[in-house]
Assembly symmetry: C2
């Protein structure tokens, strides 16, 4: 019995062994299924029973991994990769924007919109979920935008005192939800391209 | 016993009398409570029990009025008044936009954002709810914007072929959700004013 088996019982040892059985790959698989279910039914209708059934594991296993649903969903979100925006530097702001859209797909946009829609209310109630949602959908986008806009200002393409500079995130974050509301159908990359040319670039006087 | 008492029983008569007791004012009161609860907990956590408790009526009464939760919530949404935007005509597009914002209050914006957040997932599952949500938050806004933009084009303030004209609704609908996501705090009318000046008016070349 090693020093980490604090209560020194056989039961604790079995528990530890079982916990060990959830490999990283299996945990990743659980996280993927949690997000799939979230896209289908949203947070409130997501039950531990449904996750257990979908992943063919017991509820007990889930509760050994996570204290509860908010913790499970927050980890599942952190396990998801944001759209990769690193390494974009085309030499013009419009080129950079279009390169971002090239990395989107209609499917990815719809999946992300479903996740956002299914989690907005829960994120309001659980600060940790809200942060996980921001880390996935807001922070990477805002960081990349800041770099692109910074380079555009350095190149003299955008004047540093353009008021629109501070509002680019507001004009883009949640755009797919706005499209769904305004047009009653999901957005696609072609719409984002038109919106960038018609709204965002003019707002930056580009 | 009149002709409308189809099954001709005393029980039916009592039922009808009770149904009759739900005056228009009382029905309006129920709708208001439904929306209040929605803002607090969102659609999925809104139970008929909670509505019954909040409004001090029985679940049976609720089920006599509405077939179920989606129908009840849809009527509650249709009972809510959109922000009144009629009669705005200041003679300039910026003046019209600012007059719209003058009719908003921080409280109203927060209450509307809460409702939208709490209903997005349910609206995805229930087309009638989606329509009720659009009738409250999208259609009146889009209609008023179209009138204001039409006048601005007639006055020659905005050129009719400005690409941004088609995208004003997308840039504004859901802006409060975008603000919440981007800044982790609710939007207020002052933010909307800055956004109009920094993004929407430049996108229209005004």
């Amino acid at each position: 019995m090693d020093g980490s088996d604090r209560d020194g019982t056989g039961a604790a040892r079995v528990l530890r062994t079982r916990r060990g059985k959830l490999t990283r790959a299996r945990r990743a698989e659980l996280c993927t299924s949690v997000l799939d279910l979230l896209r289908e039914v949203g947070y409130d209708s997501l039950t531990m029973e449904a996750v257990a059934a979908r992943t063919r594991c017991s509820k007990a296993t889930l509760y050994r991994q996570w204290a509860g649903k908010p913790q499970m969903v927050a980890e599942a979100l952190r396990h998801e990769k944001p759209v990769a925006l690193a390494g974009i530097d085309t030499g013009s702001l419009r080129g950079d924007f279009l390169a971002v859209v090239d990395r989107l797909s209609k499917r990815r946009m719809e999946r992300d919109t479903a996740l956002l829609r299914g989690l907005l209310q829960a994120a309001h109630a659980h600060p940790d979920l809200f942060e996980a949602l921001r880390e996935l959908f807001v922070v990477p986008e805002v960081t990349s935008l800041a770099e692109m806009l910074g380079r555009a200002v350095e190149r003299g393409e955008v004047s540093a005192d353009t008021p629109g500079l501070s509002f680019v995130p507001h004009a883009l974050v949640g755009l797919s939800l706005a499209h769904q509301l305004a047009e009653a159908r999901p957005a696609d990359p072609a719409f984002v391209r038109r919106y960038l040319d018609a709204v965002v670039l003019p707002a930056l006087d580009v």
